[in-house]
Symmetry: C2
Subunit: 404 residues, 2 copies
C-alpha cells in the first residue's frame, strides 16, 4: 500500500472503501458503495429540507443524532424514496447486514441512496453483495467507491486536503455525486467527507454547517431540492492531534481546509451539470443585508429566462432586471448597476447602449461568465453559482428514467 494510491475519502488515515455492481443498474455499472473507518468516528450530517424524505435520509438523520458512526453504505440507481414502510425496512436491513460483517452496532452504520424515486429497492441484490463489498474494502479502493455512487454523473468527484495542528498532519478527504437538481438546501447531491482529525463532535457539526452554507447552498442548477440529499462528515481521530474544539485556532484551520475540499467538490459538481454549456458566477453587492443579496442572486440564478439568454449568448440584461425585481426584496431601480465580466451594461438602472452590449457579447461567448449586480443600498454581498439552460438539458431531463 503506497501513500499515492490513497485518495478521496480514504486520503485520511484509517478509512477504507469499496464499490461494486450488485445489479440495480443495467449493464453491470457499479451501484453499491461502502465507506468504513477503523475506529468509531464522531459524525455530523446535513440533509435535504424537502418535506418528502427518502427512507435512508430519515434513518441516517435519526442515527447521526447520537453523534457517532463507523460506516456508510450507499447505493445508486434507486433512491429508495416514496417507498413507504417497506423502504424503511430495506434501509434498516442494508445497514444491519453491513454491521454484521463489520461486527459493529447497526446503529453506527449510516446509509444513503440515489437514483429513481418510487421503485422498491431490489434489497436482495444489495444484501447478496454485501459480503463481497466488505471483502473488497481497502484504502486503495476510494475510486471504486466514488464511481459506485454516480447516477448521471459523467465522472467521479473526489477531493483531498490537509493542514498541520502542532506536530500532527490532519487530512481531509471527500467524494460527491450530483449533476442536476442541484440547488441550495442540498438537491440530489450526496457528499461524504472524511477526516483523521481528532475533533469535538460539536466542532465538527459547526464546521460542516459553516462550509455547507458557504459552498453547496450557493449553487443552483435547476432550483430543485431532492428527497435524498445528504452531506455526511466522519472524523476518526487517527491523526493523533490535540483535539480540535470550537473557537480555537486549530478549528479555524479545520474549517478552512474543509472549505477547500468542498470548494473542489462544488466546482466538480458544477462542471458536470446536465447539459450546461456555461458556468455563471453571480455576485450581488451593495445590499442592505446578506439575506437580501442572496435572495436576489438566487432569483437571477433560478430564472429560466436568464438561463436561456445565457445559453443563447444574448445580452438580454432586461431579464436580469426582471429577476432582480422578482426577488421579493426592496430595490431602487435608479441605483442598480450591472456588469458582465469587465463590461458595464447598466448604470443607475439605465442601459449603457448597444456599444457596451456588443462588448458584453464577447464576454458571453466564454464558458465562465462573471455577473456583478450592484444594488447601491448597503454594504452586504452574496455569491451564487449557476449554469445556463440548454437544449441538451431539456433533452436529458425529458427522458431521465430511460437512461438509468
Amino acid at each position: 500500500m503506497t501513500r499515492k494510491s490513497r485518495g478521496g475519502i480514504t486520503y485520511p488515515e484509517g478509512f477504507s472503501a469499496s464499490g461494486l455492481s450488485c445489479g440495480i443498474k443495467k449493464k453491470g455499472k457499479p451501484d453499491l458503495a461502502l465507506l468504513v473507518s477503523e475506529g468509531e468516528c464522531v459524525a455530523a450530517g446535513m440533509f435535504t429540507v424537502n418535506r418528502i424524505k427518502a427512507a435512508p435520509v430519515v434513518l441516517s438523520q435519526r442515527r447521526i443524532k447520537t453523534g457517532y458512526a463507523n460506516a456508510i453504505v450507499i447505493n445508486s440507481g434507486n433512491a429508495n424514496a416514496c417507498t413507504g414502510e417497506a423502504g424503511m425496512q430495506d434501509a434498516l436491513r442494508m445497514t444491519e447486514k453491513v454491521s454484521q460483517f463489520l461486527t459493529c452496532n447497526s446503529r453506527k452504520v449510516l446509509c444513503a441512496s440515489t437514483g429513481v424515486i418510487g421503485r422498491p429497492l431490489p434489497i436482495d441484490l444489495i444484501l447478496g453483495s454485501i459480503p463481497q463489498l466488505v471483502e473488497k474494502l481497502s484504502p486503495q479502493n476510494h475510486l471504486d467507491c466514488a464511481k459506485a455512487i454516480m447516477t448521471t454523473d459523467n465522472y467521479s468527484k473526489e477531493a483531498e486536503g490537509e493542514f498541520q495542528v502542532g506536530k500532527s498532519i490532519v487530512k481531509i478527504g471527500g467524494m460527491a455525486k450530483g449533476v442536476g437538481m442541484v440547488h441550495p438546501q442540498m438537491a440530489t447531491m450526496l457528499v461524504f467527507l472524511t477526516t483523521d482529525a481528532s475533533i469535538e463532535r460539536e466542532a465538527l457539526k459547526s464546521a460542516l454547517q459553516t462550509v455547507v452554507d458557504r459552498k453547496f447552498h450557493t449553487l443552483s442548477i435547476d432550483g430543485e431540492t431532492s428527497t435524498n440529499d445528504s452531506v455526511i462528515a466522519l472524523a476518526n481521530g487517527k491523526a493523533g492531534n490535540t483535539k480540535i474544539v470550537r473557537n480555537s485556532s486549530s478549528f479555524e484551520l479545520f474549517v478552512s481546509a474543509l472549505d477547500q475540499v468542498c470548494q473542489k467538490l462544488q466546482s466538480l459538481l458544477l462542471r458536470d451539470a446536465e447539459g450546461a454549456t456555461k458556468f455563471i458566477h453571480i455576485t450581488v453587492d451593495g445590499a442592505r443585508s446578506r439575506t437580501d443579496a442572496r435572495k436576489i442572486a438566487s432569483s437571477i440564478a433560478r430564472s429560466v429566462l436568464v438561463k436561456t439568454a445565457f445559453y443563447g449568448e444574448d445580452v438580454n440584461w432586461g431579464r436580469i432586471m426582471v429577476a432582480i425585481g422578482n426577488a421579493g426584496v426592496p430595490v431602487r431601480e435608479n441605483s442598480i448597476d450591472i456588469n458582465i465580466g469587465d463590461v458595464s451594461l447598466v448604470h443607475r438602472g439605465v442601459g449603457l447602449g448597444e456599444f457596451q452590449e456588443e462588448k458584453a457579447l464577447e464576454v458571453m461567448k466564454g464558458s465562465e461568465i462573471h455577473l456583478l449586480v450592484s444594488l447601491g443600498m448597503g454594504p452586504m454581498t452574496a455569491e451564487y453559482w449557476t449554469t445556463d439552460l440548454s437544449i441538451e438539458y431539456v433533452r436529458i431531463n425529458a427522458g431521465y428514467k430511460g437512461r438509468t
Copy 2:
C-alpha cells in the same frame, strides 16, 4: 356599421379602437394601438408586483387611482422599462399627444408598453403616428388594435360576453397579449377589458381583483413576472342599466360574465405559450388551507424537472413528489395520492407500480393533461395551469431579441 363587425374590446357600446405600424418593429408590423371610450369610464387596474416597473406601469397605476379614464394608448416592440427619467417623459408625451387629439385631460389617458427592456422608446415615431391612429378609430377596428399589442404572440387574443340586468343588456369585451413569462402576479401579459355596464368604481375594482386572482394568477408558463404586466378594465355606462354595486345580484352576474371573458383570454394565452406542446391542468385538493394548496400547485407548475418530464412523456411521478415536498408547506407523505387523468399513480405516498405507469403513459401522450394531487390533510383546493418545457421553448428564449 353592423353589429357583427364589433368584437373584442369594442364589443360593448361606445368603444372604438385602432392599430397601425409606426416603425418600432421591423417589417411594418403593427406596433401602436389605441382604445377610446365615447364618454368617461370608471377604471380599475392591476399591475405587476415586480419591484422594477416600466414607466407606463408607474404612470397608469398612478392615474388609475383617480378611478376614471377615457383612453389607453399601447405600443409593442419596446417595453419602455429600465429607461430612467427619459422613459417616464416618453410615457407622458404619448398620453399628452393622444389627449390633445381626443380633447380630454391627459390624466384620463392611460398607457402600456411591451417588448424589449432597456431600449429608449422611439418616441418620435410614436408621436408622429398618433394623428393617424386617432383618425382610424372605429368600433370595427378592434382586431387591428389587438394585433398591434402582440409581441411574440402567434395570434391575436379577443373575447366577448354579455348578460342581462333588468331590461338592459350589458356587454363585456377583452383583448390580451402574452405568450411566455406568464406567471401569477401578472407576467408579461397585457389584458384590456371593456364594458358598457354602469357600475360603481369600487364594484369594478372588486370584480377585477376577484377574477384576476381566479384566472391569471393561476397560470404559470415560466415562473417570471415582468416589468410591464397590466390588466386594465374600463366601464362607460352606455348600457344604461341600473348601476351595479357590490354585494348585489347584478354584481354577481357581472363577476360571472367577466370571469368567462377572462377564462377565454386565459385559455388563448395558455395555448399560445412559447414552445409548449402540452397544457397541464393541476388540481391540488385535501389541503389545510387554500394558500397551502396553491403553494403546492405552484411548486409543481414551476418545477423545471416536472415540466421537462411532461415534455418527454415520462411518467416520472417522483419529480412531482419532489415538487410537493419543496413547496414549503407541511405534508404527510403517507397520505398523498397522485392521479394523471383517470389513472391512479400513487396511493398513500407509494407508487402503484409499472402497470399503472404504462396506463398513465397513454394519458401523457395527450396534449391536455389533468394532474390531481390529493394531500389528505384538509378540505381546501386550488387549481393551476402550466405547460411543458420543450426544446423549442429554449430555442425561442435563447434568441428573443433577435426576433423582434
